[in-house]
Amino acid sequence: MLCGCAAGAARDPNSLVILEAADGATLNPLFSTDAASALYEQFIFDPLVNVGDDFKPIPWLATAWRSSVNHLHWTVDLRRDVHWSDGVPFTSKDVVWTWQAQLDPATGFPYRGQFDYIASVRASGPSTVEFTLSQPNALFESQALNASILPEHILGKIPRRQLRLSAFGEHPVGTGPFFLERWRHDEEISFTRNPRWWHGPVTVPRIAVRIELNDQARLDAMQEGSGDVLDGLGTSGYAILQQQAPKLRLLHLPDLYSFFIYTNLRRLGLDDLHVRQAMLYGWDRRAVVRGLLHGDAIVATGVVPIALRLWYDPNVRRYDYDPARAQDLLDAAGWPKGNDGIREKNGHRLAFELLLTGADAATEDLAAEFQSDMRAIGVAITVRSLDFATFLTETQSLHYDLALGGWGGVPDPDQFTLLESKQIPPTGNNLMSYSNPTVDRDVTLGLRALEYSERKALYDSMQRVTAEDLPVLFYINTYYRAAFNPRVRVSVKDVLPDQYVFRDVYAWRLDR
């Protein structure tokens, strides 16, 4: 009998086998936008500043960095003992070229808009780089200095417009802890350790990222012991491994994402604060978390995820399930129930369409529960599922009433492009058309302030005001889950969620 459950394959004890659900697109950081590419790139490239515990910046290719009093000029000192994987020394030329390429529109670097405050970058010596900013930016250290540095001696020979088509994305040269060994797209990508890495010995000899497109196949590989790390486990997969694979070490911690129902504030009805508040009071989110999500999520209370411990403010207005209060709010706002039980005002019914994307059974069940809760308070909801690209087009062109979505993934409370009033599409991603002068001030000054206490006060204010205004209906904060084979020696308590889980993979140890 052929058996699919126990392959019993001999495995290479020197390889750390990471199981991923999707392959990356390119190993050229100038053009990658997907999570898997970012994962691979951190094995090959180094940033000037890396992510330390609690997401704080730590020196990496940069030994030190300092700013002028007005925070417009930054001087970054570089390490002198670093070489590219082809043996060429790393210098300030590489940093300057990387930044000039990223800021040049001809390159087509997709994240260029995030760094439009960087006016110029120049070398003031072989190991010193000067950045000049057009205005102070709180994300300069954590985001700009965290960008991968690329080899000028290779990419500098290619016209910027041609960089997109260069083969560098398949044959990268970096300064990082690993070299690319082989890449079979959608199957496996492997890396071997850089024996001369400037940071010190790399304890993992080889990494094999195995692309297993199917959820069950990834779980099977972990249970059989052929996989070492399963990154980004879903709720049900986590529960299965908890029950069936007691030997695995499981990681479960709040991640950096928040999920909401976006409200299009240009729609009649949704422009009424009382309606939005009533909808949140009338939505039994705790029941959804307990039932559909098996308790494996946190009911969100605001726009900043709970995982950002330094920034999350719990002291905001709460909307615990209270359908009676929801009904009272709607009555008081002049939305009486019609003959069919749906509320209306001046002939306009409280009836909205909820857009979903990538809808699995659980999401559709969630939509059905939301529909039911809303029906109970007199709000009619219809549901439409769309593919991701269409969903984005509909929401970004503001052709929607309600949409289930989320944001996050970055270790900073900045919400400028999502909440600031000038960031309404097509300018930015304020899909709600939300406008509040206090929040505008908070998110604008929050980006310019550099002191933690000053930023904290601004983002507390942002969280308080948005909890009153409800430009989005808060849904849940999610958990990051991963499984580790016990042979992988890693301190689980030091692991950060999401893409940061592999930030110190070079120091992990493998038992034979």
């Binding site: 009998m1 052929l2 058996c3 699919g4 459950c5 392959a7 394959a9 001999a10 495995r11 290479d12 086998v17 697109a25 390119t26 050229n28 053009f31 936008t33 997907d34 529109p105 087509g108 670097f109 997709p110 994240y111 260029r112 808009g113 995030q114 439009d116 997109r164 088509l165 994305g169 079979r184 797209h185 959608d186 199957e187 496996e188 195995r210 692309i211 297993e212 497109l213 199917n214 069950q216 196949a217 590989a221 059989e224 052929s226 996989g227 593919d387 991701f388 690209a389 269409t390 969903f391 984005l392 087009t393 509909e394 970004q396 944001w407 492009t417 999502l418 300018t427 930015g428 991603n429």
Partner: protein
């Protein structure tokens, strides 16, 4: 068979395929251009601070700032002048290289599916013809027709549920187990369920053709003669009748190819097989127009060439066929 008329026939058919391919490309590009969503919509969500200027620069770099028919013209020019299908919007690699690395697994899957189909359909078709109007004949036809009517995606999910999830006899996804890359037996184990899914759906057509073809042949005088000579029934069937009854099946190969190629798209997606179909469906979701076009054109070409090959083989097998 004379060579010259055959060469001229192939040339005529290939020349006739060019406007057909052009029409397919125009319709496909038009449909993509009119579909909602686009590559930059996805990019702007991933790069959350993408400014309109950066998005526009990206659109210009990809040629997406022009109407779809202008984009089509440039795509066609690139294909005709440089023989290039362009570069993927997703990973910037040449589309042809992306397809070339996916094609072998799709061909392996299709070959195995075809082999399974023939192994199942031909013996049953023969037996159904020999036992005409018997319970076996009616039952096999009914079962085959049910298989024909079942949507391939539903059948695939059903087989995964039964054989991979519950019975755990066979893997339900991918092309090899972790740590067994390059093991042909492991590959075969992974391809059995998807190939079987494709085979079940196409068995009905083959079975019915085989049965009808066999029935025609069984009434032929040379079969009667063989029987009257006292040859064993097995020899009559397999040496005299089957050889001629297989001839029309060659035509069916060409007719079945579109269904198989189309079915392979869904099957690869359902079974997470990283072949051409999986790449195609993913590319549609990612709005990777050059890759979608490349796969569409290659699939169309495969179907056209499959039909042509069937016609040529039929001619080679049957000397009565003329190509002038």
């Amino acid at each position: 068979m004379e060579t010259r008329p055959l060469t001229a026939y192939i040339a005529r058919r290939l020349a006739g395929a060019i406007p057909l391919l052009l029409l397919i490309s125009l319709i496909s590009y038009g449909l993509m251009g009119l579909a909602p969503g686009g590559p930059t919509a996805i990019l702007s969500q991933q790069a959350r601070s993408l400014t309109p200027a950066a998005r526009h620069a990206y659109e210009v770099a990809l040629g997406l700032d022009k109407p779809w028919y202008v984009q089509y013209f440039y795509w066609l020019k690139e294909l005709i002048v440089h023989g290039s299908l362009g570069n993927s919007f997703v990973d910037q690699r040449p589309v042809l290289a992306r397809i070339a690395e996916k094609l072998p697994i799709t061909v392996e899957l299709l070959s195995l599916a075809l082999l399974l189909t023939l192994v199942i359909a031909i013996p049953i078709g023969i037996r159904a013809a020999v036992k005409r109007d018997s319970f076996f004949d009616n039952a096999s036809t009914a079962i085959a027709l049910i298989g024909y009517g079942v949507p391939v995606f539903w059948l695939g999910i059903l087989l995964i549920d039964v054989f991979a999830m519950h019975l755990r006899w066979l893997p339900g996804s991918g092309i090899n187990s972790v740590g067994r890359e390059g093991d042909p037996l492991d590959l075969l184990r992974h391809l059995i369920l998807p190939a079987f899914t494709l085979a079940i759906v196409s068995v009905a057509g083959w079975l019915r053709y085989q049965r009808a073809s066999m029935l025609d042949v069984l009434d032929e005088p040379y079969v009667q003669t063989a029987r009257s000579k006292g040859l064993p029934e097995r020899v009559v069937l397999y040496r005299h009748a089957l050889r001629n009854a297989l001839l029309p099946m060659i035509t069916l190969l060409g007719l079945q190819l579109p269904g198989l190629v189309g079915g392979a798209y869904f099957v690869e997606y359902i079974f997470s097989i990283p072949g051409m179909g999986y790449l195609g469906i993913n590319s549609i979701f990612q709005r990777d127009y050059p890759t979608v076009m490349g796969i569409t054109m290659l699939s169309a070409l495969m179907v056209i060439l499959g039909n042509l090959l069937a016609d040529v083989l039929y001619g080679a097998a049957d000397p009565r066929i003329r190509y002038d």
